[in-house]
Symmetry: C2
Subunit: 210 residues, 2 copies
C-alpha cells in the first residue's frame, strides 16, 4: 500500500489543473474521463474532489457532480484581504524567539527574487517561497491550515499578477521592509506592510483582468 494516499497526489494534480486552466472555470468535472486520464479509479478521485470542494477550489452540485467555480472579480476582492489578514495574524502570533534568524533568510529569498526579476524568470514561485518562509515559524497549525486552504483560491486570480516589472520591484521592496521591521522587532510595521503588499497586489490585478 502506498504510504501516501492516492487522493493526496490527486488533490495536488487537480489543483494545478484548475490553476493553469486545464480544468476551465465554470466547467463540470467528468469523473470517468478524469479518472481514466489520471490512471486511477473513481473512488480516490472522488475523495480528492470532495477535499477540493471543502477548500472551495471546486463546488459540489448535488446530483451533478463537481464543477470549477467561475471567475468572479468580487471573490478576488475578498480573497486578497483575507489572506493578508491571515498572514498578518500568523506573523503577530510568531514569538520573537521563533523569529530569530528569519529576517536574514527572508532577505536571501528576496535576493533571489531580484535576480529572477533581472533575468526575466518567473517570480511567483519565489514569491510563494518567501511567504511560506515568513509563516514557517508560526506555532498555530490551525491558522496555517486555513492559510494553506485559502491561498490556492487566490492563485487562480494571480496568474497575471507579476506581469508588470514595476509592481514586482515594488513588491520586492516591501518584502525587504518587512524583513527589516522584523529585525527591529517592530511587528506592527511588519504586519502593516504585509497587508499592504497583498492589497496592492489586488489593485494591480484589477488592471489586467481576464
Amino acid at each position: 500500500m502506498a504510504r501516501t494516499p492516492l487522493r493526496s497526489d490527486l488533490i495536488e494534480e487537480i489543483t494545478t489543473r484548475v490553476l493553469d486552466g486545464r480544468l476551465a472555470a465554470g466547467a463540470r468535472v467528468n469523473e470517468v474521463h478524469l479518472a481514466r486520464e489520471l490512471g486511477v479509479s473513481r473512488t480516490p478521485l472522488r475523495e480528492a474532489l470532495i477535499g477540493l470542494a471543502d477548500r472551495g477550489l471546486l463546488v459540489s452540485a448535488p446530483g451533478r457532480g463537481f464543477l470549477v467555480p467561475p471567475f468572479d472579480p468580487d471573490e478576488a476582492r475578498r480573497l486578497y484581504p483575507l489572506v493578508a489578514e491571515l498572514e498578518a495574524l500568523a506573523l503577530r502570533w510568531t514569538s520573537p524567539l521563533e523569529l530569530a534568524g528569519l529576517p536574514d533568510a527572508l532577505d536571501a529569498v528576496a535576493d533571489e527574487m531580484a535576480a529572477a526579476l533581472e533575468s526575466g524568470a518567473d517570480l511567483s514561485d519565489v514569491d510563494e517561497r518567501w511567504h511560506a518562509l515568513l509563516l514557517s515559524r508560526c506555532p498555530n497549525p490551525h491558522l496555517l491550515r486555513l492559510i494553506g486552504q485559502t491561498k490556492p483560491l487566490l492563485k487562480r486570480y494571480e496568474s497575471c499578477y507579476f506581469g508588470g516589472a514595476g509592481r514586482a520591484g515594488e513588491s520586492i521592496g516591501e518584502h525587504r521592509r518587512i524583513a527589516a521591521a522584523l529585525r527591529d522587532g517592530d511587528l506592527p510595521t511588519a504586519s502593516a506592510v504585509l497587508v499592504r503588499n497583498w492589497v496592492k497586489a489586488l489593485a494591480y490585478l484589477g488592471k489586467d483582468e481576464r
Copy 2:
C-alpha cells in the same frame, strides 16, 4: 437520488459524535463498524471522514485510517484566539449598511440567553445562535467558511464552558456591550469586546479541564 448527498448528513452525525464523546478522543475510527451502525456503506462514510479530516476534526493516519485527535490544552489555547480574530474580522468587514437592525436582533437573543440562565437551561445553543447572527451579514463567504470549519474544533473544548453561572452572566453582559457598540457605529470597541469575550471563555475553560 437524494437531493442532499449522504456524506453531508454523515458529516453532521459524526461531528456530533465527536463532540459528545461517543467517538472518543484518541480512538481510531473503524469504518466497517461505523458504516454498519449508521446504515450506510463505507464509500459515503469515507467521503465524510475525509471532509472532517480536512477540517481538522479528525486526522488521517495513512494506512491506519482515521482517528479522533486527542485533547490538547495547547490546541484550545490556539483555537480560541483564532476564532476570536476571525469573528472580529468578519465583524469589521460587515458594512454599516448591512449592520442595520442587527443590534436589536442580537439583544433579543441575549434576552433569551438571560432567560435560559434563569431557568437553568443550556446556554451554549443560544450563545451559538447569537454568534451566528452576529456574522450573518458578513459579505465574505470564504471567511465565513473558515469560521464554520474552525468552530467545531473549538466546541470539543467548550463542553464545560457554561458550567459557571458567573461567567455566563458576564458573557451575556459582553454580548450586550457589543450590540451597544454596533448601535453606536463603534466597530473597534465591538470587535475588541468580541475578542475579549472569546479569550475570557478560554480562561474559564482552563479551570475545568478534562
